[in-house]
């Protein structure tokens, strides 16, 4: 079927439920919009809020946050007494009650349903089912619209899940458990997959939405990889030159410059993180990083260098790869007649040098160079370990951000711990040799002046590809 035909009618889902069940949280997470107002006070949502999901500027699906039911009994009573055509039930209800303040919320929440939206009924699975819930389910059943139910556990455990499931089976086409505050990207995709089963007519459109979501996700990771590569290039080649003041000694000027130099590098890293944050549509994420996150540490702090990056042995091996790579270049130039001798020698030299300096990697030093009489120059910091630390920090940031549901507004240490525990596995020390080799080659190409620009570009692309693969695995 033609994509344009499928997308002509944008699928719309109204998130409906009792007050304070977490409807806004679900919408916020599904639509990746952390600007949705979420409050522990019931009745925060008083009017419908339409949250379109845009990909490449095109709206592909629409979620509508609605106020909670306020007068379900009377609403149901009216609907049961209604004797007109079924298709006009909602319209008549809204027309009849639109000026009655007692039914303000019901009119508001049924408006998207009346215009054809599917229903996602949200309940809190940590509380028992009550008569009011049954009445609300019956109202939704009477609308005749396709509907699915979501058990969103506001408490930690869905203690009453079975009870809810039994009730849902009577009224809904599909049931799903979904914790709006902990849901990851893949769980969101799973939920969308479930929506396909709600109504056969919507299957192609929702399949298209899922496909677009997946493409968009890949695109974001690709961009994040490119941004990271660019950041590494900038940081590893960054230099600063400052004048030495009249009453200043060379050492004083060096210390001053060193501070500025570190600040600049940290700012470059922050800028990249900021760009990635926006890429993943997080506006308020930054203030709620887990308190134990290493990202709270400065880039050049002792703790950062102690826990991130590679171990001295791994640095030596990685450096060996760099040395080996140098040798390979010479071998290539010598058209292979050296039988790889240069590769071997280069590898041994590189590894030996890194091992010797490996023990001192934690206290990185910045050597200022005197330029002429009154200038001092700093950088570039071509330090392999620094590159791995930057990569690890980016991995932590990326991991946190993709696992941070958009509905989360405050830090929950238990969730933060979960995230941190998962991230440990993805650090650079666990990467395979192939990945490390590409990283090392990239390091070498950045830190050495090569005449072969096409080669540099090729290595850069390889690096981006490797980083993309690593980021994709973080999901």
């Amino acid at each position: 079927m033609d994509k344009h035909v499928i997308m002509e009618k944008i699928p719309e889902f109204a998130i409906i439920g009792h007050p304070n069940e977490g409807k806004s949280s679900v919408v916020s997470t599904l639509a990746e919009d952390d600007t949705v107002k979420i409050s522990p006070m019931p009745g925060e949502t008083v009017v419908c809020q339409i949250l379109p999901v845009l990909i490449d500027g095109q709206e592909i699906i629409r979620f509508t946050d609605t106020p909670g039911f306020q007068n379900p009994r009377e609403t149901l009573a009216w609907m049961k007494n209604y004797s007109g055509p079924d298709e006009l039930l909602l319209k008549t209800f809204i027309d009849t009650h639109c000026n009655n303040p007692d039914f303000k919320d019901e009119c508001e929440l049924l408006t998207p349903v009346a215009r054809g939206a599917g229903i996602i009924f949200v309940v809190d699975g940590s509380r028992p089912v009550r008569q009011t819930d049954r009445i609300e389910m019956e109202i939704l059943r009477m609308t005749g619209r396709p509907r699915m139910s979501i058990v969103n556990c506001k408490g930690n455990e869905p203690v009453h899940l079975n009870q809810w499931q039994n009730e849902f089976r009577k009224h809904f086409n599909s049931i799903r458990q979904f914790n709006a505050h902990k849901a990851t990207w893949s769980e969101r995709i799973d939920l969308l997959e479930s929506l396909k089963g709600v109504d056969q007519d919507w299957q192609p459109a929702i399949a298209m939405v899922i496909e677009k979501f997946k493409e968009d996700w890949k695109h974001r990771n690709r961009l994040a990889a490119a941004m990271t590569t660019e950041m590494l290039e900038h940081i590893l080649t960054f230099t600063m030159t400052e004048n030495i003041g009249e009453s200043e000694t060379f050492n004083d000027a060096k210390i001053r410059l060193q501070k500025q130099f570190i600040k600049k590098i940290e700012a470059m890293e922050r800028l990249t993180h900021e760009k990635i944050r926006k890429l993943f549509k997080h506006n308020i994420f930054d203030c709620t990083l887990p308190s134990n996150s290493l990202l709270h540490e400065d880039l050049f702090s002792e703790k950062t260098w102690q826990f991130l990056g590679l171990s001295p042995g791994e640095v030596a091996i990685a450096a060996g790869m760099v040395g080996g790579a140098t040798g390979v270049v010479i071998d290539v130039i010598a058209a292979g007649i050296t039988f790889g001798v240069f590769s071997a020698i280069g590898g041994i030299l590189g590894a030996g040098s890194a091992l010797l300096s490996g023990r001192r990697i934690a206290d990185i030093t910045f050597k200022g160079v005197k330029l002429g009489k009154d200038q001092v120059k700093m950088g570039p910091v071509c330090n392999l370990q620094l590159m791995y630390i930057l990569l690890d920090r980016m991995m932590i940031f990326h991991g946190s951000i993709i696992n941070w549901a958009h509905s989360r507004r405050e830090i929950d240490e238990s969730v933060a711990d979960d995230i941190t525990a998962n991230l440990k596995k993805g650090f650079s020390s666990g990467w395979n040799d192939k990945t490390k080799k590409v990283c090392s080659r990239f390091f070498q190409s950045v830190c050495t002046k090569s005449r072969f620009k096409y080669k540099k570009q090729q290595i850069r692309e390889e690096m981006e590809q490797v980083l993309f693969s690593v980021l994709e695995k973080q999901v």
Binding site: H18, P19, N20, K37, S39, P40, M41, P42, G43, E44, V46, V47, G68, F69, Q70, N71, P72, R73, E74, D102, D105, R127, P128, R130, Q131, T132, V159
Partner: protein, 623 residues
């Protein structure tokens, strides 16, 4: 020593302190403080009326706050909005007195700009000085008579409805978009503020109208005094001629009749020619434009001033003085008639006399006050097929007996868990409060009530234990249990019938000091974790309509029924009180009735406060 009395300032301070208490989440602190006041200051005084009790309480709170202005946990500090109000009122009185006086003089100055070419027109003088005042007095008298005769509610002519109307209209004028930007908490806060104004009106009636009324009368007195003084000064120090004229062809005889009628209040002592002009003087002081004034006799022209002065005195000054004095009397009467029976007062009273030394964690029944032999309400008739009523409670004496005769040693097992036990000062206090709990102190009485229980929880809960809790903990004797949540209209109808029957029977058969007319209450059990939706609030409003205005509606809240809590409660119960005879039946119930989450409590408090019902009370089934 002069006995302290309620004043407006004290009432404002009292309300302020009550509202400050509402912000303190530490119930135990409040209970301890209020019970101490009750034991140390109220009980020895022998006073029993709520009015006297609260006055002592207020004085004590203010004294403590003044002595320790920054005492931890005491949010009252030494700020007194009552003093501020009285100071403002004093200042307003002075301002209005001066303003009235100046206004009177200004009006006269404009009138007395006499050039000697023409006499001053008496009818014009009376029209600008007296006519508006007379109209105002007549309107007020009309309202007063209408309200006295029951034709119109008295509160209709007080500023409250107008104020409420203006605020509501202003809010309505806020566009829908503006309301969207305001968070629900802020909307609730606005509604709660409106509700406070509304509640104040319901509780205190015209009390806060009288000071405004008095100030207006002071203005009137000063205004008339200003006019009088100006007139007398003009007469004393200037040669001024007064006459009368009219385009209408009025005869002098007619004018004389009008003047003599106006002079009725004083003509018995100051007759025509002295207190008011006689017919000749009236003829002689008529101004005819074409004739000029030269033919008019001086005696006739000056004959008007006594009439003018006396008219101001009798129709302007005296009525204002009378109204001023009436305002003072009404204010005093209003202060004396205050019943202090609204929600926060009843909470305070209960806090004073029902201190529970052992904080309840859902594991132990409270100390039961020894309950006097209750004169039970007569059986209320009902037809099962038409009614949602589930049970009649006729005999609760077994439960009472079990608790009343509980030995002191019964509670010893729990004292280890009592955080207050650690302080010796509080231990002493605890002893004192235990003895206090040996009887039900006046003015608290156990009141009969109808309990409304949602059908969702009716089956799961232990009804007997609930009744026991309500009686021993909250002093409500559940006589009827109505299951609600199926058909609100029918349920309300049923409650109305049952309530009316109960009240009528009580009225005819019981002693006035027993469970009287307004002593019946309605307890509405609710799960606190279910947010109060409009449906619930509307139900409460409808419930109020079928009950009397001052019938207490108690929203009794319970926490979430969780399996883990049940296990926890069971374990503790086993460890601490395994010998309790009621254990087997209670452990399930104690786990059903769990403490209410603070956030849930706050949500309910905010939402219920929007109803503006001063006799709607919130209670925690388990503290």
């Amino acid at each position: 020593m002069k006995k302290a009395k309620w004043t407006l300032g004290r009432i404002i301070d009292f309300e302020y302190c009550l509202r400050q208490d509402m912000t303190i989440s530490d119930d135990n602190y409040l209970k301890k403080r209020d019970t101490e006041i009750y034991i140390n200051q109220i009980l020895p005084s022998g006073l029993t009326s709520p009015s006297e009790i609260f006055l002592i309480w207020l004085e004590s709170i203010r004294k403590t706050a003044n002595e320790n202005p920054v005492r931890i946990n005491d949010t009252h500090r030494n700020f007194s909005p009552g003093n501020m109000y009285e100071e403002c009122l004093g200042l307003l009185r002075v301002i209005f007195l001066i303003a009235g006086f100046m206004a009177g003089i200004s009006v006269c100055l404009a009138f007395f700009s006499y050039t000697g070419h023409q006499p001053l027109n008496v009818s014009w003088f009376l029209a600008i000085t007296l006519f508006p005042q007379l109209c105002l007095i007549m309107v007020l008298s009309g309202f007063f008579l209408a309200s006295r005769s029951g034709f119109m509610q008295q509160k209709r002519f007080v500023p409250y409805p107008f104020l409420g109307f203006v605020i509501k209209q202003s809010l309505m004028m806020l566009s829908r978009k503006s309301l969207e930007k305001i968070s629900s908490e802020k909307i609730d806060a606005v509604e709660a503020t409106l509700a406070i104004i509304n509640e104040g009106k319901q509780v205190y009636g015209l009390l806060f109208f009288w000071p405004l009324f008095i100030i207006m009368q002071l203005f009137g007195i000063a205004f008339n005094a200003g006019i009088l003084l100006s007139t007398i000064s003009r007469i004393l120090f200037f040669d001024t001629a007064f006459g009368w004229q009219s385009t209408l062809q009025m005869s002098a005889d007619m004018v004389y009749k009008v003047v003599s009628m106006v002079a009725i209040p004083w003509r018995w002592i100051l007759p025509a020619g002295t207190g008011f002009p006689d017919i000749d003087q009236i003829i002689g002081s008529r101004i005819v434009l074409k004739d000029g004034i030269y033919h008019l006799a001086t005696n006739d022209l000056v004959s008007w001033w006594p009439f003018m002065c006396l008219t101001i005195v009798f129709y302007g000054l005296l009525p204002r003085i009378i109204m001023f004095l009436s305002g003072l009397v009404c204010l005093e009467k209003s202060l004396e008639q205050q019943k202090f029976d609204h929600r926060e007062c009843s909470r305070l009273l209960r806090r004073m006399v029902m201190y529970d030394a052992v904080p309840d964690s859902g594991k132990q029944l409270p100390h039961a006050p020894s309950i006097e032999k209750l004169s039970h309400a007569p059986e209320l008739s009902h037809t099962p097929e038409q009614t949602p009523i589930i049970s009649d409670t006729t005999a609760v004496s077994d439960i009472q007996a079990a608790n009343t005769h509980k030995k002191p040693s019964d509670t010893s097992g729990h004292e280890a868990a009592d955080p207050y036990k650690q302080s010796s000062a509080i231990s002493d206090f605890k002893d004192a409060s235990s003895s206090l709990l040996g009887h039900i102190p006046p003015p608290i009485k156990i009141t009969p009530c109808i309990a409304l229980v949602p059908e969702d929880i009716y089956e799961a809960m232990d009804k007997e234990f609930f009744m026991e809790l309500m009686k021993t903990r909250h002093l409500y004797d559940v006589r009827k249990t109505v299951v609600v949540g199926i058909d609100f209209e029918k349920e309300l109808e049923y409650v109305q019938t049952e309530y009316a029957t109960a009240v009528n029977v009580k009225k005819t058969k019981e002693k006035p000091d027993g469970f009287g007319y307004d002593n019946w209450s309605v307890v509405m059990l609710q799960e606190a974790w279910q947010p109060p939706i409009r449906e619930t609030l509307n139900f409460i409003k409808s419930l109020r309509k079928v009950l009397d205005k001052k019938t207490r509606i108690i929203v009794a809240l319970t926490g979430r029924h969780v399996e883990t809590y049940k296990e926890h409660a069971k374990t503790e119960y086993t460890e601490t009180n395994s010998t309790d005879l009621n254990y087997n039946t209670k452990h399930g119930s104690t786990s059903f009735f769990t403490p209410v989450d603070t956030s849930d409590w706050e949500i309910w408090k905010t939402k219920l406060s929007t109803i503006a019902d001063p006799w709607l009370v919130m209670e925690k089934v388990i503290q």
